[in-house]
């Protein structure tokens, strides 16, 4: 095994230019995938932040005793979709309106009677913030006798849903296309490395090397190149992220797991690319 690693590392030393070229090519291919990943990550985050604002408000009929509502809130809190349920009294509603609706401050101050109803404000757990679940919860709220009306901005939630679906579909298709392009480019690069060493492979076989022996250093080398390429790609992506953050917008970077996935992806492509290239070469000779 140590021999395999030694041979793999020797190949880097013996063909530094081609090795650097391979790593660079892999790095840039993965960088493109990474950039797209950054866009996807940020878009997803933005959508999540928007979705956090999904709120259901159930207006309570005037004159309903606070105890009744409080008890109901206890029940509502146990709905599997519900993250929080808060009671907003009539007075609180007015205070809030005064603070938020500055234009109407004078009107609101001069009111003799508070026209605002009490309400229950619901936030849903992540994963339930789509139109279907929101609708479902809203229907259940309407079942409470003291609930006058339920509002949740149906159009808005549906649009958000749609946006989510489009983002996911585009992400999948474009991401897959980028990944395929990266695989092809990386495969070609590795094929070059194999062809460059065709003579050596022929000599190895002539002196009695098994196919496995010929193959293993290439696999190790391919995996190392893929991994290095992945690491460089993460570095480049971080550079791009830093620039965007500084000059354009506040953006998010990959989590450790996502960064690791890109490096893993590179390593895997390097490994598989080498396996197919060497395999094909060995079958022909």
């Amino acid at each position: 095994m140590s021999l395999v690693f030694r041979e793999a590392l020797l190949a880097f030393r013996r063909a530094p230019l081609l090795s650097t070229l391979s790593v660079t090519t892999i790095a840039f291919s993965l960088f493109v995938v990474g950039l797209f990943g950054l866009v996807a990550v940020n878009l997803e985050q933005a959508l999540r932040q928007v979705a956090e604002r999904v709120e259901i408000v159930a207006y309570v009929l005037p004159g309903t005793p606070v105890e009744t509502v409080t008890m109901a809130i206890g029940d509502i809190s146990t709905f599997p979709e519900v993250q929080s349920a808060t009671y907003v009294s009539e007075d609180e509603a007015l205070t809030r309106a005064r603070a938020e609706l500055v234009e109407f401050r004078d009107v609101l101050r001069e009111l003799e009677r508070n026209p605002l109803p009490a309400s229950i404000e619901l936030k849903l757990k992540p994963g339930f913030r789509d139109a279907e679940h929101v609708n479902d919860v809203a229907e259940r709220l309407k079942g409470f006798g003291f609930v006058d009306d339920v509002r949740f901005g149906r159009d808005w939630v549906e649009k958000l849903d749609r946006l989510h679906q489009i983002a996911a579909a585009v992400g999948l298709v474009v991401g897959a296309a980028f990944a395929v392009v990266a695989i092809i480019i990386i495969g070609t690069t590795i094929r070059m490395a194999v062809l460059q060493r065709a003579r050596e492979i022929a000599i190895m076989r002539l002196v009695g090397a098994t196919d496995g022996f010929v193959r293993s250093p290439f696999l190790v080398q391919g995996a190392i190149k893929g991994m290095l390429g992945g690491l460089v790609a993460i570095g480049l992506s971080y550079g791009a992220y830093a620039l965007i953050n500084r000059w354009l917008i506040q953006a998010a970077f990959f989590s450790h797991e996502q960064a690791l996935a890109i490096v893993g992806f590179g390593t895997l492509i390097g490994l598989l690319g080498s396996a197919t290239s060497v395999g094909r070469h060995l079958r022909r000779v």
């Binding site: 013996r14 000599i203 076989r205 002539l206 002196v207 009695g208 090397a209 098994t210 196919d211």
Partner: protein
Amino acid sequence: MIKFTNVFKAFPKGGLALKDVSFHIAKGEFAFLTGHSGAGKSTVLRLVYAEEPITSGEVRVAGFNVQEISRRDVPKLRRRLGIVFQDFRLLEDRTAEENVAFALEVTGARRATIPARVTRVLTQVGLAVKAKAYPRELSGGEQQRVAIARALVNEPTVLLADEPTGNLDERATRGVFQLLRDINASGTAVVMATHDLDLVRQAPYRVIELQEGALVYDSAVDEPRDQAATT
């Protein structure tokens, strides 16, 4: 040791490279394989080391049935053989000793034994002092000696040499040929393909001559050449 029985070999694009070739080379024998370029000498050798499939007939080499050999067993066969070429086929980016050691590493020899074995064969071919030289720093004759050392290091039962002196000047040719004779004297069978008839005449070894893929003369079977020519 090497036995060809009614061997035919077709070119991929039609035509026959070998036509009904039969011969038997015994253990420890030295045999020349002669004939013009394209007569089939290299094809015979390539069939021996299982580089190409046999079209029909039987080839047995060192206990292997070559026409039925599986891909997995080809390396095992080749470890019993030493192969030398006209163009040396050394790895340019490795020193003489690394080239020789490579043949041992490839076969999974124990690491600790490698340096001693490499030194021994390099001494045998007279190149111990140039162990650290790269092929480009060596003369043609010296490169061929490295190639021979590489072929010998696995202690083969047969050494196959395909025009080993084809790229060498006269002096280097004599040296390499003498080396092959010494190797044969120590018990290794040698099959040497050559079209250098001067060399063939120098030594009392068996001659197998091919012409357009057919075996036309075998000194072990046929009458001696000179008499055949006069009668």
